[in-house]
C-alpha cells in the first residue's frame, strides 16, 4: 500500500515548518555562548510558547478560511485580566485562571456569533471586536501593573522547569495540543471546519454543520489566545494594555501560521505546523542576539527573513505549467 505517501503529502507543510525550526534553532543554539543548556532552552521556550498559543488560536480560524485580527487583543485583554484575578490562595488562583480562560472563550464566541449570525466578513468583524477587547483591557489596566497578592509562585511553576530540565511552558503547550488540538482534529466538528475552509458551498451542499463548525473554531481560538495571555502575565507578573503589543502578536500569529504551512485560504494545514512556525519565527528574531549585532537591526532582520520566507513559498510557481492554476 502507498498509504504513507498520502499521509506525507498531507503533512508536508507541517514537516517543512518543523524542518525550518530545527535548522534555525540549531544555528541559534550552536552560536549561543551557553549552547543548548537547559536555561537557554527554557528562555527560548517561554518566548516561543507565547506566540505558539496565539498562532494556534489563529490556526483554528484560518482553517475555516477566516482570519482573526483580534487574537492579539484577546491575548492582551486576558493578560490584563489575569494580572487581577490570579491572586491569593491556590484555590482562588485556580478560580482566576478558569475565569481568564472563560473570558477568552467568550471573546472568541462573540467573534463567532457575529461572523456566523451577522453574516459579516471575519476580517472586518475582528478589526472591530479587537477595538472593543482592547478598550476593555485599557479599562482594566489604564497603567501597567498587577494587583497585590499576585500568585507569582503559580506563575513561576508554569514558566520554570520540570525536574530541572524540561521547560514547564513547553509541557503545557504539549498538554494543550493533546487535550484540545488532537481531539478537535479527529472530531466531526474539526472535520467540518476543514470542509468549510476548503469549500463552503460544497460543505453546505454536503450537509456539513457550517455554523457550528465556525462557532466552535472562533470560540476555541479565543480560548487559545487566553492561554497565551495567561502565560504573558506569568512571565511579566503584570498586565499591560499595550496596543503595539496586541497588534504585533496578531501580525506575528499570521506570519507563524503561514510559516507553519497553514493555507490562508483555509482547509489546509494544522495547528502543530503553526506551533513550529511560531517557534521558528521567534528563533529568527533571536538569531541576531547570538551573533552580537546591534538590536536596532532586529526589526529589519525579522522583516527581511519573513519576506524571504514567504517568497520561498513562491518557488512552487516555477512548476506551474498551466497559468490558470495560478488563479484559485
Amino acid at each position: 500500500m502507498k498509504d504513507w505517501r498520502f499521509f506525507f503529502a498531507e503533512q508536508r507543510g507541517t514537516l517543512l515548518a518543523l524542518l525550518i525550526f530545527v535548522v534555525m534553532f540549531a544555528i541559534y543554539g550552536g552560536n549561543h555562548p551557553a549552547h543548548f543548556s537547559a536555561n537557554v532552552i527554557q528562555t527560548a521556550a517561554n518566548k516561543g510558547v507565547l506566540l505558539a498559543f496565539v498562532a494556534m488560536a489563529q490556526t483554528f480560524v484560518v482553517l475555516t478560511a477566516g482570519i482573526d485580527l483580534s487574537v492579539g487583543m484577546i491575548f492582551i485583554l486576558c493578560s490584563c485580566l489575569a494580572s487581577y484575578v490570579v491572586v491569593g490562595t491556590p484555590l482562588e488562583s485556580a478560580g482566576g485562571l478558569v475565569l481568564v480562560l472563560l473570558v477568552g472563550l467568550a471573546c472568541g464566541a462573540v467573534n463567532g456569533i457575529i461572523v456566523v449570525f451577522g453574516r459579516l466578513q471575519p476580517i472586518v468583524v475582528t478589526i472591530a471586536t479587537g477595538a472593543v477587547f482592547f478598550g476593555l483591557a485599557l479599562w482594566l489596566r489604564p497603567n501597567p501593573g498587577s494587583t497585590k497578592g499576585f500568585n507569582s509562585d503559580l506563575a513561576d511553576a508554569f514558566t520554570g522547569k520540570l525536574f530541572g530540565v524540561v521547560p514547564a511552558s513547553l509541557v503545557t503547550l504539549l498538554v494543550v495540543v493533546l487535550v484540545i488540538w488532537v481531539p478537535y482534529r479527529r472530531s466531526v466538528i474539526g472535520r467540518a471546519a476543514y470542509a468549510v475552509g476548503s469549500s463552503e458551498v460544497a460543505a453546505y451542499m454536503s450537509g456539513v454543520p457550517i455554523r457550528r463548525a465556525k462557532l466552535v473554531a472562533y470560540t476555541l481560538s479565543g480560548l487559545l489566545a487566553a492561554l497565551g495571555g495567561l502565560f504573558l502575565t506569568f512571565f511579566t507578573y503584570s498586565g499591560e494594555a499595550s496596543l503595539a503589543n496586541g497588534n504585533t502578536y496578531t501580525l506575528f500569529s499570521i506570519a507563524a501560521v503561514v510559516l507553519g504551512g497553514v493555507s490562508l485560504f483555509g482547509g489546509k494545514g494544522s495547528a502543530i505546523g503553526a506551533i513550529f512556525g511560531a517557534l521558528a519565527f521567534r528563533t529568527i528574531g533571536d538569531l541576531l542576539f547570538v551573533f552580537d549585532l546591534d538590536p536596532l537591526w532586529q526589526p529589519l532582520f525579522q522583516g527581511v527573513v519573513l519576506l524571504l520566507a514567504v517568497c520561498l513559498g513562491a518557488a512552487r510557481l516555477f512548476q506551474v505549467r498551466n497559468r490558470l492554476d495560478l488563479f484559485m
Partner: protein
Amino acid sequence: MSTETTRPSEPAWRTLVRRLDPAVTIAFGCIIVLLLLGSLYSSNFLSPEYLLQQLKVGAFLGVIATGMMIVILLGQIDLSVPWVVTTGAMMACAAASYGPIGVALAIPFGILCGVALGLVNGFGVAYLRIPSMIVTLAVNAVAQGLMVVYTGGFSPQDSATPAMRFIATGTTILGIPNALIVWAIVGAMLIFLLSRTVFGRAVYAIGNRERAAYLSGAATQRVVLFAFALSGGLSAFAGELLAGYASKAAQSMGDAYLLPAIAAVVLGGTSILGGRGSYLGTIAGVILITLLQSILSVMQIAEFGRQIIYGVVIIGMLLLYGRDKAMR
C-alpha cells in the same frame, strides 16, 4: 459606480435614486445622525468651522483610504500602511535636510519611497502570488526595520518642509483647508480612474474573478502591481501631510491609520472580497470614522470607552447593511 450610462427614457431623479447604493445612503444617513447627536451635546457640532476642521482632519485618512480602496477592490488588502505612512513622512523630512534642492524634492522623494514599497507589495502579490495579507505584512516589517535603523530608534530631528506644512495646515480660497483640496483632487482622480479607464474596469474585473479577467486578455499582473504602487504612494503622501501637520515625522505615526482606513472603505459599502464598491461610499466612510472619533473625544470619553464604542458602532453599522447574502 457610475460606469453605467443613463437610459434615455428615465427621468433624471429616478436614475439617481436607482443608482444610490443602500450602503452609501445609510453611511451618509449615519453621518447626519452623528452630527445631530453631537449638536444635542454642543451646538458647535453644526458650525461650519467645526465641520471644515473635521474634513481637514479626515483628509489624511481620506488619502490613505483612497489607496486602500483600490487594493480592496482587487480583493486584496494592504497591511503595510502604518510603516509606509511613516516611511513617507520620515524620508520627506530627511530629504529636507539636504539643502534647497532637498527641500524642493522632499514631497516627490517621500512619495517615491512609498511607491517603491508598494511595488514590492504588488510584485509579491501579482507575480509571486503570495497572499496580500502576508506580503504586505512582511513589507510593513521591512519598512519598520529600515526606519528603525535609519533613526536609531529615536524620533528623527528633521522637520517638515514649508511646502508640506502649507499643504497640511494652510488654507487657500474661502478658508477651505488645503488638505481638503488635496483630498478632493486625489478623490476626483480616483473616481475618474475607476469609472472611465481601462485600468479601473480591470480592477473591478480582477476583484470579481481574476481568472476570467486573465482569460479575457487583461494585463492582470500589471494592474495589480500598479494598484499596490498607487496605494503605497498615497500612503506615503498622507504621511507627508501628517508630518506637515505635526511639523515632523514620528515613530509609529502611521499605526493609528491602518484599521480606520480599512473600516472607512468597508463602511462605505466596498466589499472586502473585492469587485464591488464606489468612491462616494469611501468618502462617507472616512467622514463617518473621523466624526465618530472627534465626537467621542469632544465628549471627553476615556480612551477605553472610545475604543469600545468605536468597535461597537462599526459592527452595528455593518450589521445594518454589510451582511452577506444568506445561502438559501
